[in-house]
């Protein structure tokens, strides 16, 4: 690895001056392709200053050194180098700048796991040629892909951070979180509905309970329901998913109990309309036009129905508060609603309002993650720039850690 720059240097010093007759490639070896499912071999050999477009390399393979060899590949000798970015430094089958060829099993030359195969190279220019030694290797499936170990480290590290911050939040759920602009409006909207004696409409979006945005929407619904119970206003929650409805029913009921108004809870404040996008939208639009809710909440994930809902809502003069991570619909919410929680603000709002340790902890964990990524982006760019100016590969020891390898 350390002599990788050296090889490059040699390449440049060399040039066409060396163009003699073909010589066998140096350092030629065959090995099982690392980090794969088997049935493939890898060939490695040193770069030579005399590699040119005119000089070609042929790969010959056989089931054993004695058996008849078969030509399986041919290419110009100045191709198939290991380039930066091909392999991470911790799992390189060959040094950067060396030649590397993956020989997969094919119909022309099938490779089975567990049996040794013999391979040799032929270097050829015009009618002159030179053979390499015969090398042998056995293909085998691997149990771990080392090139992706950084990915696994991220999973483990993030799990640790997440569990740590949830535990911290359990001890102290009142960690400082920044103010979120749209949230003050929630109280205002509920107050206004009470004054006007009109209901509040709350939608939880189109997603199922396995989406972050839906979970956040149900948590916020719980907080809204508490306030609604205290103010004694009507709450209407039309649903698209029976499971989400079942969850919301529980949540609203608990909120009423917590607010000390179990008597005011109505089972039918949560009701199912249909799973179909546009039937649902038309039905909700109908509710908006007939009952003229004073406040409309749109939380969760949305698709094309967003604008149909918010435009109708705006025409009835309701205060509209939206929160979604569906980035493709955000422009419409931002333009047609009074307040919009953008992307992760929705998750944050659910933690902020409920102070549920799991949610607060998760938010904190994600913040750590983001801070880390911001650091990587800024420092990484600085390092990459230094590397480019100083023309050194050393920076790749750090940068490779944050790359995606296969």
């Amino acid at each position: 690895m350390i002599f990788a720059p050296l090889v490059f240097a040699l390449l440049f010093i060399g040039g066409p001056a060396f163009a003699g007759p073909p010589t066998p490639p140096e350092g030629f070896r065959a090995l099982d392709t690392p980090n794969d499912a088997g049935k493939s071999l890898s060939l490695v050999w040193k770069a030579s200053p005399s590699d040119t477009k005119e000089r070609s390399i042929q790969v010959w393979a056989a089931a054993s050194p004695q058996a008849a060899f078969k030509k399986v590949a041919e290419f110009p000798s100045n191709t198939r180098y290991v380039k930066p970015g091909d392999f991470p430094w911790w799992a390189q089958p060959a040094a950067r700048g060396d030649h590397y060829l993956k020989l997969p099993s094919s119909q022309a030359f099938p490779i089975a796991d567990g049996t040794p195969y013999a391979v040799k190279l032929l270097v050829r220019e015009g009618d002159q040629e030179a053979w390499s030694d015969v090398v042998q290797a056995t293909a085998a499936p691997n149990y771990f892909n080392w090139a992706q170990v950084n990915n696994l480290v991220f999973v483990l590290a993030f799990t640790g951070v997440l569990l740590g911050s949830i535990a911290a939040a359990r001890r102290n759920p009142h960690i400082r979180l920044r103010r979120i602009a749209g949230l003050d409006a929630v109280e205002e909207a509920i107050g206004r509905s009470t004054e006007m004696g009109r209901p509040i409409l709350y939608l939880t979006g189109s997603g199922g309970m396995d989406e972050v945005s839906t979970i956040a929407a149900t948590v916020i619904l719980g907080e809204v329901a508490k306030k609604v119970a205290r103010y004694d206003t009507t709450l209407k929650v039309p649903h698209r998913d029976p499971i989400v409805m079942a969850v919301c029913q529980e949540i609203v009921k608990e909120s009423y109990i917590e607010a000390g108004r179990p008597d005011a809870f109505k089972e039918d404040s949560n009701f199912f309309i249909t799973g179909d996008q546009f039937s649902y939208t038309a039905a909700v639009d109908g509710i908006m036009l007939r009952e003229k809710p004073a406040a409309n909440f749109f939380m969760g994930s949305y698709f094309a129905e967003s604008l149909l809902l918010t435009e109708t809502g705006a025409s009835t003069g309701a205060i509209q508060i939206a929160g979604t991570d569906s980035d493709h619909q955000l422009p419409f919410f931002v333009t047609t609603c009074d307040y919009t929680l953008i992307g992760e603000e929705l998750y944050a709002a659910s933690a902020y309002l409920s102070r549920e340790p799991v949610l607060v902890g998760t938010l904190r964990g994600q913040d750590f993650g983001k801070a880390f990524i911001m650091g990587v982006l800024v420092l990484g760019t600085a390092l990459a720039t230094v590397g480019a100016i100083a023309d050194t590969e050393v920076v790749s020891y750090v940068l490779d850690l944050f790359k995606d390898f296969k």
Binding site: F303, D327, H328, K406
Partner: protein, 278 residues
């Protein structure tokens, strides 16, 4: 002045609906044919297909349904015309149940017009559930994921699929997507692991969200909306429905731009007033 502005701000939205309908209808009845400029992201898809050798395997996934037909069908038709002209082997499929009939129709129509045969030059596999699980399944063994094609012909032994075992044997793939189950899923569960080159065609709604993937090379090209389809039609030098629609598109955009400007003019007139509209 202010009274007028107030009246205009509160105008019945049905007037606006009529304006839009007129802006689309008139140019469709009497087109003016403006030239179409080709963007690099569309050119990239064209160039890649152009460079593929004959009988390469091209997978086209129809990840949309009739609700996005006007935008994505012209893209599909243009891509298929190009692929058939280049004599590629085309595999079609869909992740969207309700788009199945539509996709099959497009295949039959373009194949008939270019004289390509089902089973020999192309196959339409139809729909199968599972989304990402389906892609993984196809990546391992195509014949397990789709034992038979849309016409219930067994897929094993079809001439068009000769030498194709799984997604690794696909040379190029394009996902025409209208949302969720589409380009990103194909990248994450397909290309990422089975290493084929891919591009995306999408509705205008999701196109902006795909630019980060374009930049990072996760997709090598992007055809966005009707404009993208029109660009592709320009590249293959065969005008179709997309090019024909662009005049109406232009007119409607201009009506909306004028509306936005008017809205702001009225807003500024009324701004100082008390109780001005929110």
């Amino acid at each position: 002045m202010k009274a007028f502005a107030r009246r205009m701000v509160g105008i019945d939205r049905r007037v606006i609906f009529l304006l839009i309908a007129a802006a689309i209808l008139l140019p469709m009845l009497k087109p003016f044919g403006l030239p179409i400029k080709v963007s690099p992201e569309v050119k990239a898809v064209y160039d890649y297909i152009e460079a593929l050798p004959e009988r390469s395997v091209f997978l086209l996934s129809f990840d949309f349904d009739p609700s996005s037909k006007p935008e994505l069908e012209p893209q599909a038709v243009a891509l298929l015309r190009h692929a058939f002209r280049k004599n590629l082997r085309v595999i079609g499929m869909t992740h969207w149940l309700t788009g199945t009939g539509l996709a099959d129709g497009v295949f039959s129509q373009v194949a008939a017009e270019t004289g390509r045969e089902r089973g020999k030059d192309y196959v339409f596999l139809g729909w199968s559930p599972g989304g990402s699980a389906l892609i993984i399944s196809m990546g391992q063994d195509l014949y397990q994921a789709f034992p038979s094609d849309y016409t219930k012909t067994p897929t094993r032994g079809m001439p068009v699929l000769e030498g194709v075992r799984n997604l690794r044997d696909v040379n190029y793939m394009v996902s025409l997507a209208a949302g969720g189950a589409g380009i990103e899923m194909w990248y994450v569960f397909g290309k990422d692991k089975y290493r084929f080159e891919m591009a995306g065609g999408s509705t205008g709604v999701i196109a902006p969200g795909l630019y980060p993937f374009l930049r990072s090379g996760q997709i090598n090209g992007l055809i966005g909306g009707l404009q993208g389809a029109a660009e592709y039609e320009t590249l293959i030098k065969r005008k179709g429905t997309a090019t024909a629609g662009m005049d109406a598109q232009s007119a409607a955009h201009f009506v909306i731009i004028v509306l936005v400007i008017l809205c702001n003019v009225f807003y500024f007139i009324l701004r100082g007033e008390k109780g001005s509209p929110r």
